[in-house]
């Protein structure tokens, strides 16, 4: 009866939920930074922004259609464009069905792209998909601390496997290269709202949160029902002595980690594009050429002098060379990293060159 304390009955089911909520919030922050960077590069890279918008709208529309399918409303119309997507249900269902379809619309875009990546990772990653209960937690697995520890351990194991895979990614392996491309492309589309063509309305993190908050406050009873379902599932897992409940939330945690990593990589690429926009002429392309050439050269070098860390070393050299080249070009070809005096000299020199 010790186990059936208030901790198990009331608090334990909350632990994985809070964990997922925390990761989801971090994801939201990275989405916000991506949207900020995209807004900055929009004037010069309109097609790229339209493409990312299209991806975002595509996932939103798919999620909405999925919501209508799950609620058995059916889909009678499906329209998608770069700036707008619309799904028309066959049957207009009200109440909880409509609410569930809206939950799919607002929350789905955060997890569906990551879910696609998780499927790919399952075939590419060698380990990390561990949802078993660690031996030292036996006996306390259904308490708040136990649930949180299992959730954390599962996330740690997955993150370890995932980062190990990413740091050893072989860009000459079609599967790995395809996964990286997908990670970048989907990373640009993980968001529940798009950047409008005209900045008439501010579409930011607050806008997304407001939508979700409206969904919660509009029908609080449904949220209570959702919580009840979670609690019932926890109790079923508890009485059958299985780790199903924490396993389900662990998968949501994995999805958040994948989404965060995808967003970080997409952010870095957008940042590189934004930085190279400040460079003029053919120098603009140099960082990209160096990125490609340095990796290929390292792989050729390691082909003749094999070591245990071919992939990670090649990746590290590639990244270091790209950053260094970008820094040097910015320093010597633009006004960046210069004092006022040096900026004047640079202007004078440039003027002299153009006169000649």
């Amino acid at each position: 009866m010790d186990d059936l304390s208030i901790d198990v009955i009331l608090f334990a089911p909350l632990a994985p939920m809070l964990g997922v909520l925390l990761f989801w919030f971090i994801q939201l922050l990275f989405i916000e930074s991506e949207k900020y960077l995209l807004t900055k590069i929009r004037p010069k890279h309109e097609p790229l922004c339209r493409f990312t918008n299209f991806l975002g709208v595509l996932f939103q529309t798919i999620c909405h259609a999925l919501g209508y399918t799950v609620t058995k409303s059916g889909v009678s119309g499906f329209y998608i464009s770069v700036n707008y997507g619309r799904v028309a249900p066959k049957k207009e269902k009200k109440g909880i069905f409509e609410w569930v379809a809206n939950v799919f619309l607002f929350v789905g875009p955060f997890f569906i792209p990551a879910f696609l990546l998780l499927i790919c990772l399952y075939f590419l990653m060698t380990g990390g998909f561990d949802i078993s209960i660690p031996a030292h937690l036996t006996g306390m697995e259904h308490t708040f601390a136990g649930q949180l520890s299992i959730f954390g351990t599962s996330l740690y194991a997955f993150s370890k496997g995932f980062f190990n895979f990413l740091s050893n990614i072989d860009l000459l392996h079609p599967g790995h290269f395809g996964f990286l491309l997908l990670l970048i492309v989907l990373g640009m589309g993980i968001r529940p709202s798009h950047i409008g063509e005209k900045t008439t309305e501010k579409v930011d993190m607050i806008y997304d949160l407001r939508n979700i908050w409206r969904l919660v406050t509009l029908k609080p009873l449904y949220v209570v029902i959702l919580f009840l379902f979670a609690y019932v599932f926890f109790y079923v897992s508890f009485f059958l002595d299985q780790g199903w409940y924490v396993a389900l939330f662990s998968i949501f945690g994995w999805l958040s980690i994948i989404a965060i990593v995808a967003l970080i990589i997409a952010d870095l690429i957008i940042l590189l594009i934004k930085t190279t926009d400040e460079i003029t002429g053919f120098w603009k392309l140099t960082p990209y050429v160096i990125m490609l050439v340095s990796y290929v050269l390292m792989r050729i070098l390691f082909h003749y002098f094999p070591t245990d860390f071919i992939n990670s070393a090649s990746l590290a050299v590639m990244m270091a060379c790209t950053v260094l080249a970008t820094y040097l070009i910015l320093k010597y070809r633009t006004n960046k990293f210069k004092t006022k005096k040096k900026m004047k000299l640079f202007k004078k020199k440039n003027k002299g060159e153009s006169d000649e």
Partner: protein
């Protein structure tokens, strides 16, 4: 367009060419060739499955050819164009022929990727050549469509002959801002048809019996805006701007019902005025004759 080609009082509005990505259906065939070529090279030389290909020197060619042809069949069925399958078949036969002729069977694992990349580069160049052969000239009188690599084709369409404008923009078009505008003329130029046909045959009777063979089938045809790329404004950029321009030109060239009414009314007025003039003239002539008769009588 040269100034000599312009008609009297004709002013040039825009000279356009298709966007480089507007022939993506052809370019995607070349992209597939590169991807599959590289994939074959990796599979045979570097992957964990490379041992499977070392048993027989024909295995890489077989795998390469089967996948190429299967993809060709699938693409042909989806697009209802058997030319894709025959193109891939020609590439496969060409490559195999070259391997046999030069005796490169042992080095096919290296040859196939390079061959595929070379073929796709040629493909890209051909597509680009085809794209560059297109030219659309929009003036204030008409639209001139020019195209064709060897046979130069040209179509001139006056705005007053345009009855309908069909416009379409795919996903890539929406991203890069290009699209296709098909003006449909009164004669139906710019319209094509989608045809579907179902057929079946029955053979009755054994080997020694008389055989009866029957064939039955049915089909349907739907008229749809469709044209050759050199008879429509294919993949033009900036799409929205050009579409607006063409629509404005058509609008200003076509007489609206109100304008038609005005013209008829003016024509009636002119007729009335002519009749009045004739009547007046006739009356004046009669008066003059009367005056002449009067003066003769006086004298």
């Amino acid at each position: 367009m040269n100034d000599e080609e312009l008609l009297k009082n004709e002013k040039l509005k825009k000279v356009l060419s298709p966007h480089p990505l507007s022939f993506m259906n052809y370019q995607s065939l070349c992209i597939f060739l590169i991807v599959w070529g590289v994939l074959v090279g990796w599979l045979v030389n570097f992957s964990e499955f490379r041992g499977m290909f070392s048993d027989n020197e024909w295995y890489p060619i077989l795998v390469w050819g089967i996948v190429l042809l299967v993809i060709g069949i699938i693409a042909s069925l989806i697009t209802v164009r058997w030319s894709i399958f025959f193109l891939y078949l020609a590439i496969f036969l060409g490559g195999t022929g070259l391997i046999l002729w030069q005796g490169w069977i042992k080095t096919s694992d290296v040859f196939i990727p390079f061959y595929m990349v070379a073929v796709s580069i040629i493909g890209f160049l051909l597509v680009e050549w085809y794209r560059r052969s297109h030219k659309y000239i929009i003036s204030d009188h008409r639209i001139v469509f020019k195209g064709g690599i060897t046979v130069k084709k040209e179509r001139t369409l006056r705005y007053d002959k345009i009855t309908d404008i069909n416009a379409k923009q795919g996903v890539i078009g929406q991203i890069f801002g290009f699209g296709t505008i098909t003006p449909i003329s009164q004669s139906g130029f710019g319209l094509g048809s989608d045809k579907s046909f179902v057929g079946g045959g029955v053979q009755v009777g054994g080997e020694k019996k008389a055989k009866i063979f029957g064939l039955f089938g049915g089909g349907k045809e739907i008229q749809t805006p469709m044209s050759r790329t050199y008879y429509e404004l294919h993949g033009i950029h900036p799409y929205k701007e050009v579409k607006k321009l063409v629509e404005e030109m058509v609008q200003t060239s076509v007489i609206t019902p109100y304008q038609q009414e005005q013209v008829t009314s003016q024509k009636e007025q002119v007729d009335l005025q002519t009749q009045m003039r004739d009547l007046l003239k006739k009356q004046m002539d009669t008066n003059e004759e009367d005056q002449e008769d009067g003066s003769k009588e006086d004298s």
